[in-house]
Structures are given as C-alpha cells and as structure tokens.
Symmetry: C2
Subunit: 228 residues, 2 copies
DNA sequence: CAACGTAATTTTTAATTCATAATTAAGTCA
DNA sequence: TGACTTAATTATGAATTAAAAATTACGTTG
C-alpha cells in the first residue's frame, strides 16, 4: 500500500514545475522567438492552464536568464547577444574544468566505457556530416563527465548556463575547419579522461569551451554585420 | 521630465521581486529556521500581501536552493548540510578563481586602492576581534574583486551560491588559528591583486575557499557529533 | 498640420475564491 | 489497550476576478 502511494508521488509533479520544462523547450527550440514578448494568454490556452502557474514558471525562467521581466510590461524572451556569450562561456569553462577534475577522481570504469562509446558514435556522426546527431551526442558526453563529477550543485549550475547557450547552438559556425578542430579536442578529452588526468582534462575542457566561444561570437558578428 | 520618469522607474519594483529579497534576508538571518516549514499565511500577514506574489517568490527561492518545494506539502527552509557544503564550496572556488583571473585583467587602480582600504579595515577588525565587522568587510572584498571581473553572469552565479553558504557563516569555526590563517591568505590575495597576477590570485582564492570549506565542515561535524 | 494632452482600451499584477490534497483527531473494532 | 479507518479540519494549488498601470487612439489646440 505504501509502495502504491509512493509510485504515485513520483509521477505527480506540480503544474508550475511542468511548465518550467515546457517553456524551456519552447525557448530553446526558438518556438518563442528571441526578443519577442511572451504571449501569456496564448500559452495558457495552449497548455490549458490559468495564468497563475504560468506566471510562477516565468519567474523561475527569469532567474535563469531565459526571459526578462519588465515590471508592468510583461515577460520578454531574451536574445543571445555577443556580450552574453562573452560572459557565459568563460563561466561555463571554469565549471566544466572543475567537472573534469572531479570526474577523474570519481568516474567508474563502466562510465568511462560509456563515454568511449558515445565518443565513437560522435565520430561516426562527424564522418556522416550529421550535425544534429553530432550536437546531441556531444552534449551527452559533456553531461556524462558532469555526472561523473558527483556534484549536484555543479550539475545544476552547468545545466542552467548550458541551457542559455543552447539557444545559440544552431548559430554555431560549424565550418569544416572548426568542426575538425572540435573533434580533435574531443579526442584529447577522451584520452585524458581514460588516463584520469584531472589537470590536463580540466585544461582541455576549458580550451574547448573557449574555442566554442570564439566560433559562436564570430558567427554572431558576421550575422550582425549582414543585418546592420 | 524624461529624467523624472526614469528615476521613478528605477525605484519601482514588482512585489514578487521585493519579496524575493525580503525572504532571502529572513532565511540568511535564520529568522526562518532551517528545516522548518515556510509559514505562508504568517508571512502574508507580516508583509501585507496575498499568497499569489509570495508563492511566485518561493518558486524563485526554490530554484536558488534556499527552500525546497514539496508538491501539495508546501515550502521548507533548506538546511546547510555537510553534503551541500562539500558540493557548493568547490564550485564557488572555481568561480572565485575565475573572478580573480578576470579581475586582474580589468581592475582599475582606483578599485585596487578601494580593496586595499577594505583590507586595512579588515585587519583592524581582526585585531579588535570584531567577528561581525570582519565577516562584513571580508564579503565586501570578495565582492569588489567579483565586480572588477566585469562579468555579470559570473557575479550572479557567485552570489546565488554565496547566499546559500551565508546561512552557515555563523557556523564558521573561527578558532584563533583558523582566523589567523584566513588573514594571511587575504594578505596574499591583496598582494597578487596589486601585482595583477591572475594565475596566482586564482590559485590563492581557490585555496582560500578550500580552507573555508574545511573549517565549516569540521564545525558541522562537531555539531552533529554533539547532537547525535 | 503637428504636437500635446486626455480618455479609452488593453495588459499586467495581485487578491480572492474555489477545489483538491494532506494531516490530524476521533471513534470503532480487534 | 492499541491500531486502523474514517471524518473533519487545515493548508495547498490553480482559476477567477478586480484593481492598477501602460499603451494606443482620438480630439483639441497652437
């Protein structure tokens, strides 16, 4: 009997919590256009909820930087600006470096094997020029390392910032050269992880993040130049 | 006229935003006891607001880890556990290290002078054995370095985590030996900041954070041993 | 004709109300 | 007497409603 109650409790989730996830997805997929106003009424109809839980969710998204609340003006989907990218990537770099350091201390052999598998799949996606698959597996690798660090605070901090940058992932300037460099960086990441070489893994992850930053910024700059 | 409207606009703030700040203060000062239930009704009466904005604020605090929401059970003030300290301090260490690195690149001479002043005041507080003043000035120094890093994302990430640890600041085991060590670490922090030696400042700040972690954990352990 | 001010409409914000879930207390049965 | 069940009370969660603020449109005046 107690078990029944428990399993129900697991599946049960508060409405606002559900909404946070749904809205995150909408924003990351750019279904809600960057810079646009969040259409409260429309979303309420779409999700079949009232404005109270929706607004509760928007407050959380605002503290994560996905929307900006203007008092008495409503919520606006934030844009990925060059300034933001220049700010967020260094922080993400520091956090990923730490995750690499800690992962080397705590990762199991089985987990390393899993990363090795993911890496092989990613290489395959690279050879097939399947960018969507590449991005997806890439993210799984970073997440596997993050989880191996055994630090929940680190995990959530990283994820919140990653989420903001994921809005820009389709902006990543994956030229042939950049893509090749990224794959080579990942080779070294795997290598240092297998060797459980914390300091070098940390350094490589930070450098990797810095390369990503440069790539995204260049793209945003060229895009800005086209428009303006 | 535009200026008048503007200055008014600056002071205007939404109710829920105001509440986030007020509740943070209550929790940090332990006016809301760790582990206890957040008394919605009482707080509503106390602040003279309805439950809607209060609950919006609680959602934000929950995403910052200051309260924990249990579906259909309400909000509970989180405790500072040893596990949390062991998680948060390393992350804070990585972020402060980055802040030191960036500060060395961007800090002005005037800002360095300001830190120097704060440092002198802190030494004075140390000599007078004024722990409250010491903590307060200490925090100002770390914040000054953080602001000199010119990275808003870093600032808010650090602040959110610092807030969680500030609940434990009165738990810090400031024995004579530990206090002296901390002051010496700060001497080196100032020294490397003046020299604008990023790598060494980063290393020192991380070490400083590690010392703090050890001190807090030891205290929590001895406290746990007393009770249990 | 343009610019400023006023009024009306729309939108946001917060309070109230209603429904649902949890907890506690009381009563009954073993 | 103790444990379990059921009912009642209390509190939480979400919708609705009301009040406050902003934007827009219109009219008037210079």
């Amino acid at each position: 009997m107690a078990q029944t109650t428990n399993s129900q409790a697991i599946t049960r989730t508060s409405l606002h919590h559900e909404l946070v996830g749904r809205l995150q997805t909408l924003i990351i997929n750019a279904d809600l256009e960057p810079g646009s106003k969040v259409p409260e009424k429309l979303l309420c109809d779409q999700f079949g909820v009232s404005r109270t839980p929706l607004r509760e969710a928007l407050k959380v998204l605002a503290s994560d930087g996905l929307v900006r609340l203007e008092p008495n003006r409503g919520a606006w989907v934030t844009r990925v600006t060059i300034e933001e990218v220049e700010e967020v990537f260094p922080v993400l770099g520091a956090l990923e470096a730490l995750s690499g350091e800690l992962a080397c201390q705590n990762i199991t052999d089985a987990e390393i094997d899993a990363v090795r598998d993911l890496h092989a799949q990613m290489i395959q996606s690279y050879k097939e020029r399947d960018l969507d698959a590449y991005f997806s597996i890439n993210q799984k690798i970073h997440r596997a390392i993050l989880l191996a660090a055994r630090n929940g605070t680190l995990t959530s901090s990283c994820q919140a910032l990653s989420l903001r940058m994921q809005r820009a992932r389709y902006l990543a300037n994956m030229t042939q050269g950049r893509w090749q460099d990224a794959v080579q960086e990942h080779e070294r990441i795997l290598e240092f992880l297998i060797a459980r070489d914390g300091p070098n893994l940390a350094r490589t992850l930070m450098g990797h993040m810095n390369s990503k930053r440069l790539s995204v910024v260049r793209w945003l700059q060229s895009e800005g130049a086209m428009k303006g």
